[in-house]
């Protein structure tokens, strides 16, 4: 044992022990702070991932309902039920406008042909309104349904792109 320790009295021993213990305590505290920071960052990442996944799933659900509405509009136009079709078209434009203007998470992209869909639906709404006022005005059901089918296809394609989890993301996360 070194000569320094041999010459220490009990008070000095207590002081040395206290110093050693406080050093260990500081190390433990630093370790715990570091661990907590890591856990907090992981929790923040998990929360962000959950929130973006939820937003994406809600967007998919909303777009699926738009496709159903498009199919209903096609059936209504085939059956010459223009007033019901007009209500559905206005509702559909509103839903799509909500989707377009909502702030989106980075994993949600725009529908590429959205602008064309808006134009076609706006023209359809005008034509349906005209049809209600002037029943003799022309509305070509096959042309309308062809354009609506193209819109539904574009939305289906978008749903397909967003339906599956990104690479490296599992359901556990």
């Amino acid at each position: 044992m070194p000569a320094f320790f041999l010459g220490c009295d009990s008070m000095e021993w207590i002081s040395i022990t206290g110093w050693a213990l406080s050093l260990i305590g500081t190390c433990v505290a630093i370790y715990q702070i570091h661990k907590t920071k890591k856990i907090s960052a992981a929790a923040r990442d998990a929360s962000l991932l959950t929130s973006t996944t939820l937003q994406r799933n809600l967007a998919i659900l909303s777009m699926s309902s738009c496709v159903s509405e498009i199919e209903e509009i096609k059936a209504l136009i085939r059956g010459a039920r223009y007033e019901s079709a007009l209500i559905r078209v206005s509702d559909l434009i509103g839903k799509l406008a909500q989707f377009k203007t909502m702030p989106k998470a980075s994993n949600i992209s725009e529908i590429p042909s959205m602008q064309e869909i808006f134009v076609q639906l706006s023209i359809l709404r005008e034509r349906l309104e005209l049809k209600l006022h002037k029943p003799n005005s022309s509305l070509n059901a096959p042309d309308v349904n062809r354009a609506l089918s193209a819109a539904a296809d574009a939305i289906h394609e978008w749903i397909g792109l967003h339906k599956f989890l990104e690479n490296g993301v599992s359901n556990d996360k």
Partner: protein, 125 residues
């Protein structure tokens, strides 16, 4: 400028759900041209500017006596030709007519046949 670019065939006009209206899409805006003819009156044209959400933001009506009438009439014809791919169709027909083979099919190709049974998917409300 739009009229000259359209007559050159360098504007991507598209068909719409209405057979007398054609549209060209720009960044965040769209411009459509519509021909209107009622009760044997001369055809008039309506140009409509829409925003990215399809909302109409401006409109120009060009009647038969208007100064711009001839220009807009030509614009409509060129836009229609481009949107419906009429020039391509005429080129194909011309190609068939120039060939030595018998011109004209006995019956339409399979994909153009109309189904005999009507669809029965009308919704009950």
């Amino acid at each position: 400028m739009l009229a000259s670019r359209t007559s050159e065939g360098s504007v991507n006009w598209k068909a719409t759900i209405a057979d007398n209206e054609f549209v060209v899409l720009f960044q965040n805006f769209s411009l459509s041209i519509r021909a209107e003819a009622e009760n044997w009156e001369p055809t008039s044209y309506r140009l409509t500017l829409r925003n990215g959400l399809g909302k109409e933001i401006d409109e120009l009506y060009v009647g038969s006596g208007a100064e711009l009438y001839e220009t807009v009439h030509d614009l409509y014809s060129s836009a229609r030709r481009k949107a419906l791919h009429i020039d391509e169709a005429l080129q194909l027909i011309l190609g068939e007519l120039k060939s030595a083979d018998l011109v004209g099919l006995d019956e339409p190709p399979l994909e153009n046949k109309i189904p005999l049974e009507p669809f029965d998917d009308d919704i009950p409300f």
